[in-house]
């Protein structure tokens, strides 16, 4: 599998179809309500980005999203999709160009998975062979077995249903996707899996996505940009996840982001993004004197024994260094060995789990790149400097 966290601007070709979405002074008033549900909302979602609308219940995030495909009508202002006003479009036509995924999935219970996925292609009058080929392709894309094509929704688990829901929304290659708490009703483990799969998918398809959630962790994980809404649909902050965590615009955002925002930052970066300690390396058969000399100025109290290709074999204890030459079998194993591409939060968890203060970090081919310690992470969390760097795709899953 290719690494999904590809450079943002390098993949614009496949995003040719995605359209930017622009809210221009959008206001929504429901009849019989004093205060508007959305007030003068201005928002620009670049083509191919995931924009997460997040906020407490009643903040109007779903209303804001639904005005894009006109399942909720705009009272004042306008929304432009690819530069065209949605108000000038015939709603049914407009909606066929916009993928729509909702929390309750809403699969048609009387139609097979294949027929469900082919809904919009059918409305658009695609010939049968093209529809079938597309269904086949989409089942692969959402990693469902081809056998599912003939099944009915009632025969699927919740997670499988939402995969079909996503496939159905993607069927006619929409320019924009609207996703209203798509993984909200799914158990945490499956949700995590579906989130990762969607991010992987997004790496391939690069749609413009408006994603609604009330869960700030999901927002930080999924969003290229996060729009935090307060009650009345007012935009509290619109920023990248890193900016949001580093510099909340006001008390409301700070509160909403949570007291543990420092920890959340760890989810946004990878081990390679931080300055590691240099590992005092030792080779089998090397003179122990040399190793001791190397340990003099080192931050790590023990030397790391590596093979000829610099892959870690274990930590050398005092007893290992008692002889003249470095022995072949050190006292302790090098575990845990972290990877440069590990998400920082996972690396910390791994350190805590193993009870180690520090661990070697290897690159993709297993060669030691340095040492990560709990001390480094603690220093990092203390210094605001490290947070100013943007690590937008750090959480992107990799295979």
């Amino acid at each position: 599998m290719a690494i999904v966290s590809a450079p943002k601007d390098g993949e614009r070709e496949s995003a040719a179809e995605a359209a930017a979405v622009r809210y221009e002074h959008v206001t929504k008033r429901y009849p019989g309500q004093d205060r508007p549900a959305i007030q003068d909302l201005n928002l620009e979602v670049p083509a191919g980005d995931i924009c997460v609308l997040v906020g407490p219940s009643g903040c109007g995030k779903t209303t804001a999203m639904r005005m894009v495909n006109r399942t909720v009508e705009i009272t004042e202002g306008d929304i432009l999709v690819g530069g065209t006003s949605v108000r000038e479009r015939e709603p049914a036509q407009l909606r066929r160009e916009i993928g729509y995924v909702i929390q309750e999935v809403g699969l048609f219970p009387h139609r097979t998975v294949a027929a469900n996925i082919a809904t919009v292609p059918e409305l658009l009058g695609w010939p049968r062979e093209r529809r079938e080929a597309r269904v086949h392709e989409l089942l692969d894309l959402v990693r469902l077995d081809q056998d599912f094509a003939g099944r009915y929704p009632a025969q699927l688990s919740g997670g499988q249903q939402q995969r079909v829901g996503v496939a159905r929304a993607l069927a006619a290659d929409p320019r924009v996707m609207l996703m209203d708490e798509p993984f909200g009703a799914i158990d945490p483990i499956t949700r995590d899996q579906l989130q990762n799969e969607f991010l992987r998918l997004q790496g391939e398809i690069r749609k413009t996505v408006l994603f609604v959630t009330h869960d700030i962790d999901e927002a930080i994980k999924m969003g290229d940009r996060v729009a935090v809404l307060k009650e009345g649909g007012r935009l509290a902050q619109y920023a990248t996840p890193a900016e949001l965590l580093m510099a909340p615009a006001d008390d409301f955002v700070e509160d909403f982001v949570g007291a543990d925002r420092a920890l959340k930052r760890l989810a946004l970066m990878r081990v390679r993004d931080i300055d590691l300690w240099e590992a005092p390396l030792a080779f089998v058969g090397q003179a122990t004197g040399e190793v001791r000399a190397k340990l003099e100025g080192a931050e790590v109290p023990h030397a790391l024994l590596v093979d000829s290709r610099r892959r870690p074999l274990g930590w050398l204890s005092e007893r290992d260094l008692a002889g003249d030459l470095v022995p072949e079998h050190p006292d302790s194993s090098p575990e845990p060995v972290l990877d440069l591409d590990d998400v920082m939060r996972d690396a910390l968890a791994e350190l805590l789990r193993s009870g180690a203060q520090y661990a070697p970090v290897a690159d993709g081919s297993g060669v030691v790149a340095g040492v990560l310690s709990i001390e480094i992470i603690a220093e990092f969390l203390k210094s605001p400097k490290a947070l100013t760097e943007e690590h937008p795709a750090a959480e992107r899953p990799r295979d």
């Binding site: 495909n69 399942t71 709603p91 049914a92 036509q93 407009l94 909606r95 066929r96 729509y100 909702i102 309750e104 999935v105 809403g106 699969l107 048609f108 219970p109 009387h110 139609r111 809904t119 919009v120 409305l123 099944r151 009915y152 929704p153 009632a154 025969q155 829901g165 159905r168 929304a169 609207l178």
Partner: protein, 243 residues
């Protein structure tokens, strides 16, 4: 007894209408049920049975068309639900004889009057079930449908009606079976049907029982046919159950 004799007398009944006893020498001797006699004379039931089928099929079909139209209207304009329910409820509560009397000056004696009255009785159940079938389509399914660009008409025919099929057919089953029973009253306004073999001579046990068995069989066959139709129309329900 006298009341229906009066009604019956008002029509042009065959001369031997009340003379069935003349044929049942077997019964006169035994005084009770005689299946052999019934089998010998089963031909007498053929025409009433065919008439009866018409008295069931036509009202149920007409009632379905009317109730279906009402349900579609009420589905679009919710304020119509209350008046429609009210009207169909009132129709249902009118006793059949009273309804016959009301219709007599308009449509006279005969099958037409019977069909109109029986149609009126099917409306309640057919309207209620069709309407509730449409209303019970899950909101998220409609939301998803609209959100994908189905027009209201496409939503109705491709999503709402298919999902309402179980309730619609449920209504048809009740309407059909109850009309099989109710249609026996058509005889009182000279409408024919299996009532011809019951009411004019209700003390003739063999005849009444034979008619009863035919009515039961008719109700059963029609009901089974509708169940089969529903199963064919709703394959998705079977897999859900077998899961």
């Amino acid at each position: 007894m006298t009341s229906f004799r009066l009604i019956a007398a008002a029509g042009q009944l065959p001369q031997d209408f009340f003379q069935n006893r003349a044929h049942k020498t077997c019964i006169q001797e035994q005084g009770t049920v005689c299946p052999g006699w019934a089998l010998d004379h089963i031909g007498e039931w053929v025409t009433p049975t065919l008439q009866h089928i018409v008295l069931v099929a036509v009202p149920v079909a007409c009632g379905f068309v009317v109730a279906f139209g009402m349900a579609l209207l009420a589905h679009r304009r919710r304020w119509l639900v209350a008046p429609f329910l009210g009207v169909s409820d009132v129709l249902f509560t009118i006793p059949s004889f009273a309804l016959f009397y009301i219709l007599l000056p308009l449509t006279g004696l005969g099958r037409t009057t019977a069909i109109i009255a029986l149609t009126a009785y099917t409306l309640v159940i057919l309207f209620r079930n069709t309407y509730s079938g449409l209303s019970n389509v899950p909101e998220e399914v409609k939301d998803a449908g609209r959100g994908m660009g189905l027009t209201e008409r496409q939503l109705l025919w491709r999503v709402e009606l298919p999902l309402a099929v179980p309730e619609i057919i449920g209504g048809l089953r009740i309407a059909t079976v109850s009309t099989v029973a109710l249609a026996t009253l058509a005889v009182f306004i000279n409408g024919g049907g299996l009532g011809v073999k019951v009411y004019p001579d209700i003390s003739f046990l063999t005849g009444v029982l034979t008619t009863g068995i035919i009515l039961l069989a008719l109700a059963f066959v029609l009901d089974v046919a509708l169940v089969i139709a529903q199963r064919l129309a709703t394959p998705w329900l079977r897999v859900a159950q077998s899961r």
